[in-house]
Amino acid sequence: MKTLIARLSLLLLLLGGPAAAQDAASWDPYLDYAYVFSSAEQPALRARLEQYAGEAGVPLDRHIAQRLMPLASQNGPEPEERVRRRAIAHLLLYLADGKSESLEESVEAANALKPYLGRHESRYWHHYVLAHAALERGRPYDFVGNVLDLWLGAVVPLETPYETLKALSLSESPNSGFASSLPFLYENVARLVLIRSQQMGVDRGLDPLGGLVRLLADHRVGAHPDVIPVSASSRDYLDRIVERLDGPESDAGSLTFTLALFEASKLHDNARGLIATQGLSGETVKAIRVAGAAYRTAADRADTVQGEAAVQTRVLRQLGEIYAAKQRLKMDPEIETPFTIEDAIGVYTKLAEAEAEPDGWQELGFRERDGYVVATRGLWEEIQEATLNAADYYLSRGVELPHLADDYSRNAVRLYTRYLSLFQKHALSEGAAGVPDSAYYAAHEAARGVGDAFLLYASHPTPEEVDLGIRRYRSALRIFPFDRTLWSSLTAALEKQGRESEYMGLVRPAAEAATRSRVVNRWVETGEADAERLASLQRAFADSLAVMYLGFADASGVGELERSLAALRTERQGAMGKLQALRRRLGGQAEPVPAAFDPDAGSRAGPLDAAETAEAQRELAEASALLERLDQQIEARSRTLPIYTATLASDGLGGELRARRDHPLHGLLRRLYHEERASMGDPS
């Protein structure tokens, strides 16, 4: 019955509904079963104690004064139950009201329990109270010690009896004693370690508890849904912590670090939510700062490169979000961050250098090579995204403030160039495990970005900058030739410099490479993702006229091109008619046109004289040449125009690649890049 009451109490407590305590005329049952509700959040616990006070007819503090105060020593040893209840009662008051005096009273009573520690219940409360006291005093070493002692002295001895009772369906028996509390003890330890310690600001020295956290997640917390519903337990939270503890975002399994990073991530989520709802308001900026400080704390707790990488990866995500928000909202508030892209590149370099050493990743804190690869690639992706977002932001600022366009363009170029340097350093080997496939498209974007910055955004680029911009456009074409818009950007840049005649010479290598590429051909033949779109571009690259169209025709001018083809056909009809007329004239045939409507009818009626014949023959030769030229033009345009038009279907491919880091084409770009390097004689 008591167990049932306790369970109901817990459920109602967790649901926030009214209590339905029964048979409770005294505080004693509530105190004996306090392990059921002692981990509740402060407001809920306070409400619960008030309700129990109503049911018991006396507030808890008065109950302590009336019934639980220490006995005078001359009255003999104090009963164990009374001491334990006093320790619990004071602890509950401390947890509900936060008064440190209550905690001190509880500690005094818990210490008075020392003679009774052979009983698991007393041992549990003894260490539980002392663990809270250690948190209050900011003593992680004592906290950890008490939790470990609690586990050894109160949890481990109950596990087998609990399983036995459960197997015999006796776990709810009134005689099962404290053993039946085991699911609640698991829950309380989990909340104490994962939640309470963080609320109390203990952010160091918790690592030995990592072992217990793993144990709690292993068929303990949430494993007794008949006692504590999974949804009311800390199971989800615990799983997320353990996943991080053992995953690539760990610091060699440090619980302290994992909790610190988790807290920072929550603050980051809060800041992200505020950006979405309030834009870059004062509150948002404050939330960003708080998250940055929390990430700083996590970074300070990191002992290994693995931990540093985990922090940098998340921090860069926030950095990228801030730049994207600034660009989108056209705001530039003062936001300070303790991290930079350069810091992240420094950490990445440490990660990448470990690749050269056999099992070097283990030295960095990783337990498995897969985790190392995931973390290294993840950091790279955040570096590239933060770089591209920051550069985009500068370019957009240049548009908003034209008088500063040159400065902003050069800022963007510095960012793009930094990324390209990173790419040159680490991505030249196809098998570089720490370089994600998406790095290649990002290199294309950075190279193109340099060209755009100097040739589209800057107001007064120097000749050297223009030259660099054109060279980077060419690099971008070589990495990813399938962005149709880049070809016309290059011609626009060349036109600005009066160098449009160089277009064909500049783009031909990229067009030929894409056409003859074995990896692309295989991709198309086997019908991989976007094969048709790539095939249409390949057909265009193989046709020099289509390549010219790609460079000089505007996508919106397809209709115009089609109209000009129709005009050519009309012109051809006219030329053909004239040719036939001249032939008939030279052959002495009568004109089909009625003489009454032909002013020249009289002159054509008779045979031609020598001068007229010579003139007609000259006109015939001219008409024949015109017709031949028109035929060639019509043939070329009618063949090329559909090829060019088909390439329009590839529009948007670049955007899709930027939006999806896992787009299958990223893998193709990687192979294409290294295939071309190999064909140019670079063995790497």
């Binding site: 009983r119 470990l148 050894l152 481990v156 005689n175 690592d207 072992g211 292993d218 804190g365």
Partner: protein, 181 residues
């Protein structure tokens, strides 16, 4: 346990004292005291609840030792001295008060459903004791393994963690690891 060097013996003394108290309690509450430690098995269960309970207990212990090993490795990798002191004390006590009494029977090695688990746990314990710098106790564990499983060295065990090897190979690996310390 939290002050293992200077206070270990004090803790031990306390444990003895509290154990005495527990005994008194037990005497008071006799057979209804379900929290008292179960007595060592003398009979070999062939099936039913007893066997499944014992199996469950061994499985849980094996999993717990794997988690302890991960935590210990983590603390050592990060050179967390105070964390190691705390956790090694904890593991040491866990082995002494929970694992050793549980393994203090030949019944597991004689029961086909339990033998593999028992041997794997002993190997894990020996590895942990090596990490705890307790070579004598580690050797005792190895000796017990050799004695209990003589003639069954081809039996497969779950050791090293995440792998399956024959007991013979595992013993060789363990010996090598013990000397490397």
């Amino acid at each position: 346990m939290r002050r293992p060097q200077s206070c270990f013996w004090l803790s031990l003394a306390l444990a003895v004292l509290t154990g005495a108290c527990a005994s008194n309690d037990a005497a008071r509450e006799t057979s209804l005291d379900l929290e008292a430690a179960p007595s060592a098995d003398h009979n070999t269960p062939l099936g039913g609840v007893s066997l499944s309970q014992r199996k469950l207990e061994l499985v849980r212990t094996q999993a717990d030792l794997v988690h302890f090993m991960a935590t210990l490795d983590s603390l050592q990798l990060r050179r967390d001295q105070s964390g190691q002191i705390l956790f090694k004390g904890f593991v040491d006590e866990y082995l002494g008060t929970h694992v050793d009494p549980m393994l203090a029977t030949e019944m597991h090695s004689e029961q086909p459903e339990l033998a593999g688990l028992d041997a794997s746990i002993r190997l894990l314990e020996a590895e942990l004791l090596t990490k705890l710098r307790s070579p004598y106790r580690a050797q005792q564990t190895v000796d017990a393994l050799e004695q209990l499983y003589q003639g069954r060295e081809d039996m497969l065990v779950d050791w090293p963690i995440g792998k399956k090897t024959t007991l013979k190979k595992a013993m060789e690996l363990l010996e090598d690891e013990k000397w490397r310390g």
